[in-house]
Amino acid sequence: MFITFALITLLGALGMLLQKNVVVAGLCMVAAFFGVAGLFVLLANPVAAALQIIVYTGAIMVLVLFVIMMLNSHEEEAGAARPVQRWLSLALIAVLAFAAVKLVLASAGLNALAVKGAEMPQAMTLQKVGTTLFADHLLGFEVAGLVLLAAMIGAVALTKRNL
């Protein structure tokens, strides 16, 4: 199961990067999002899986599609060669991937699971999200509200001709 979802995610991401047709690239992105949602289910976090599908494949995808439709990018220049940037980005990806794997391997949660007969973590439920979000992370919650407000005002400021 894990291999299936990981393959869907990776192939979707690769397809998105390599696909020349932007609309097909967007569809590949949706496939990758679904793969990530499946991985969340495997991690016993159905809340994150549902949010992944509602927010990412639902809303973010629409946003990306509108940007594609606005930019009319099939008239884009045919990939100017930027060798320095290319190698820099590859090196950055390598460093980030290495650091991410290191971080996961060093995390306390994983080490606790590695012990034989360790108790599996409980599945995340909406109830738990509610209690932690509104008790421990209330500042972050209100900041999220502010960020959404900023997004609204920013969108209006960017797209309206005469404010």
Partner: protein
């Protein structure tokens, strides 16, 4: 992982159904193609230009608004489920959050972002 089998089955059926229908009809139908048949179907009207033209930036504004209120609903859901346990404090907290978004809503309304100019 238990209980997800039905969801997986639904996804599989949803993917398989169009594949089956399209291929089955390809096997059954006669095939005499002509230039007129391969032309883009546009509600019976002769097509005037490509489908990939530049769309107005106004659609983008609508998309951003949809995204913002979609995320807002996502935040409402865990509160609604824990409403009794969170009691008055949670209600005030959510009220503050909703006030911020209602303020934004009033702002975009007053700027005429909801009207199609």
């Amino acid at each position: 992982m238990r209980g997800y089998a039905s969801i997986l089955l639904l996804i599989l059926v949803a993917v398989a159904l169009p594949i089956i229908i399209l291929n089955l009809s390809r096997l059954l139908r006669p095939s005499w193609p002509s230039a007129a048949k391969y032309a883009t179907y546009e509600c019976g009207i002769v097509t005037t230009n490509e489908a990939r033209e530049k769309f107005s930036v106004r659609y983008y504004l609508v998309a951003v608004m949809f995204l913002v209120f979609d995320v807002e609903t996502v935040f409402l859901m865990p509160w609604a489920i824990q409403m009794k346990e969170l009691a008055v404090f949670g209600f005030i907290e959510l009220g503050l959050f909703l006030f911020l978004l209602l303020f934004g809503y009033g702002y975009i309304w007053s700027k005429g972002a909801l009207t199609w100019e």
